[in-house]
Symmetry: C2
Subunit: 94 residues, 2 copies
Amino acid sequence: MLTPPWHVETVGAVAGFLTTVAFLPQAVQTWRSKSVRDISLTSYICLVCGVGLWLVYGLLIHSWPIIIANGAGLLLQGSILAMKVRYGRASATE
Amino acid sequence: MLTPPWHVETVGAVAGFLTTVAFLPQAVQTWRSKSVRDISLTSYICLVCGVGLWLVYGLLIHSWPIIIANGAGLLLQGSILAMKVRYGRASATE
């Protein structure tokens, strides 16, 4: 399989950057508001498992872009999942 | 670049499936609740742009797994973004 031309790789790199950094505003909003009612717990469990598997996949094929993007994704989405569990329980016991 | 062994490809396929289908519970919850206050608009704008670029990338390198996963992702995340805009505006004018 030939390596795609640079402009195609750039599209992939920007796509990877956007879909990784996209979770930063959600993490900041949730950290500030401590309000998680509208966030789906099931979605974030699936996302964290999926991103974790992408990280394993990147390690298996020695692909740094996949490792870096999904390592960052795991941190961000993992933090949102942790806040969903923590603040979701707090609001349930109020 | 050699094609990775089948068990490695399976990890990638499951990861792709999880990170795509992950948005379905969020779309269903948002559709039912019509409540979007805790969802970050910026996050979903970045996600939709990123997934759209992944779709373009998949088309450019003729990769069906990337095309299918990100086509489905675009539909799901696009619907959540549309509901965020629609229900976010409705609750703002109440």
